[in-house]
Symmetry: C2
């Protein structure tokens, strides 16, 4: 028996979570997975209820659970409160406290949605790219940090970008291993591109050197290339299919994974996994809390539903159940159902649906 | 009488510079600008000749000159030498020593090249976006920095991202002022988008606050918006025309300006200016030294030629001469001349030309 903690969060979080839990309960029954569910507070709703974006109770439940399913956090309501109490702090803290150092973000083009992208179809058709982002280090967590007053009275803000060899090796191993797994599945040679800014930043020079050493000593079957972050950002637009697995630090990963998601034109479709060293993980959609459409039944629940599939695959090793969900999602897209974010109004045979109808359609396919 | 220092640099630098100097000499005569020319060494070629990527002599000539025209620096030949001696160090040092804190990069779509982009034509048609990047501060220059050995024997790399209020105000002023100038020229309302990651990094929270204060106290006629760097990277793909002027720090500016350039599909076309507080500047193409095609007469000289136009506009206030060059470039594109990087082989009436033929064609139009 395993326990899943669900944290709906803010904005559209609760509505997408409702649909995802329905799906999870259905596969739980169908595949006799023996999962039990608990729920908890995080983000703005947690601030409103307890004064803290990540209450102690949520954290201890998350530690006890086998996996966490997160909706989304944040919204304008909490944007002006003191920095250490903002919703985002809850997200950063749970990542860090649970040791979820490996963030996997997939940018995959659903052929049914090829026209939703602003990129030409031939550039992205068949795109299936995995970004491995380091999630508990780098400039996101580096000390010292803050805003101080200088002697001349003006203010100075400062942050520290820092990585040590063991942190780089840890995330490198995840990326190299996944490149091998993907190569086995696809029959293509394994390759990974490490993104840095080693021509300017010493911290990323250590990153680059460490990846090179790992490849030479342990992963001679994986082709390793290096790319500067600015160039990577360009190459993702010019020819994203040149990449298979990209690995990078926390901040470059934040930027590049959002860019890669947007290439597919369907950020409302993309799930993510954040894993610790034992493969325990937190799963969440790549998109945010979209406060502007919250409570209007307009949100796309598919990224959260696909996050459930990732959970079954990575934490519970239930590949069959994971694939059943992914197939069900693909089937409803084939049926022409679209939430507004992925609707292409020039195609006549599509039907716009709300969050709930989309979720229930997936359920019906299972 | 004014002096221009030309620094051809490495890779394709010398060939594109030759064409740009020809153009500059032609407008010099035509508009009786009284410009004189000097040349100097920078980057890898400077390392080979003197052991330094920015020799003292180059620096003192650059200080004495009224403007600097740069080709490009770097190449695999110098990638393995000691970090402090690499070609890129010469570039960073000249920016810093000359106080060139304001980097202006224009992402403009040439209608003749609309098909060269991987973005759908309707998303980018008419795109004309200015990115104002802070160039002498932030994590590029922040101390402490380096790679050290920890007590347990492993290595740790670290860099410091730092901005003080006066630095932010200085670059903010450039961006707000340019937004006003552009609004006057276009007849549209002035607007600027400041890019930060204030939900995570304190240094960029100070950035955001400072921009907000400047808008409130001095630029009430300019609409100011804020965007997180990850979202900005997405929005540039989704709908780049929502932006007019973007302003951001050194590292985000590095990434976003390359992305914006790639949107136009013609990074070989895009010039840049790096200005000090008096408007004295260094001008260079946005692209790099492209060592793989160096010396083969394949490079696109237009970005360097358009950098000359920027120099005439910003440093010498010769708007007419600047426009003459820009018109000449547009004319050769109308004639169907294309270097290989901007050639669309599906269009029958285009003619592929080399670097020299392209440069001489512009010259002939003047
Ligand atoms: C909300 C924010 C703190 C977060 C991040 O920057 O990591 C988000 O952008 C993400 O990518 O999950
Ligand atoms: C060559 C490199 C140091 C430089 C930078 O990062 O500033 C380049 O990418 C640029 O944008 O001019």
């Amino acid at each position: 028996m395993a326990t899943i903690l669900t944290l709906a969060g803010d904005g559209i979080g609760p509505e997408i979570m409702t649909q995802a839990i329905d799906v999870l309960q259905a596969v739980n029954k169908k595949f006799t997975l023996n999962l039990t569910f608990e729920s908890g507070l995080i983000g703005g709703t947690a601030i409103d209820a307890t004064g803290e974006p990540l209450p102690e109770e949520t954290l201890s439940r998350a530690r006890a659970a086998d996996a966490v399913l997160l909706g989304a956090v944040g919204g304008p309501k909490w944007d002006t409160i003191e920095r250490s109490k903002r919703p985002e702090r809850g997200l950063l803290k749970i990542r860090s406290e649970l040791g979820l150092f490996a963030n996997l973000r997939v940018a995959k083009l659903y052929p049914q949605l090829a026209n939703a992208s602003s990129i030409k179809a031939e550039i992205i058709s068949g795109l299936d790219l995995l970004i491995v982002r380091e999630l508990t280090g780098g400039i996101y967590f580096g000390e010292p940090r803050g805003i101080r007053t200088l002697d001349n009275g003006e203010q100075q803000g400062y942050n520290t970008m820092v990585y040590k060899t063991s942190e780089i090796e840890r995330i490198g191993k995840v990326a190299f291993d996944l490149a091998q797994v993907r190569a086995k599945a696809s029959g293509k040679p394994a390759k990974i591109c490490s993104v840095d800014k080693a021509n300017v930043l010493e911290v990323t020079e250590l990153w680059k050197q460490t990846m090179t050493k790992m490849q030479e000593s342990q992963y001679s079957d994986v082709a390793l290339s290096h790319m500067y972050a600015d160039n990577a950002c360009m190459q993702l637009i010019r020819d994203p299919k040149q990449f298979d697995v990209m690995v990078t630090g926390n901040m470059f990963g934040d930027i590049l994974s959002d860019e890669a998601a947007m290439l597919t034109g369907s950020i409302g479709m993309l799930p993510s996994a954040s894993l610790d060293e034992e493969g325990k993980g937190m799963y969440e959609p790549c998109h945010g809390s979209a406060p502007d459409i919250a409570g209007q039944d307009k949100a796309n629940p598919l990224a959260t539903i696909l996050s459930v599939a990732m959970m079954l695959r990575y934490t519970f090793k239930q590949e069959q159940a994971a694939q059943a969900i992914e197939q069900a999602v693909s089937d409803v897209l084939d049926d022409g159902l679209r939430t507004v974010d992925i609707l292409d109004s020039s195609e006549a045979d599509l039907r716009q649906v709300g969050c709930q109808e989309m979720g229930q359609a997936v359920l019906a396919k299972l």
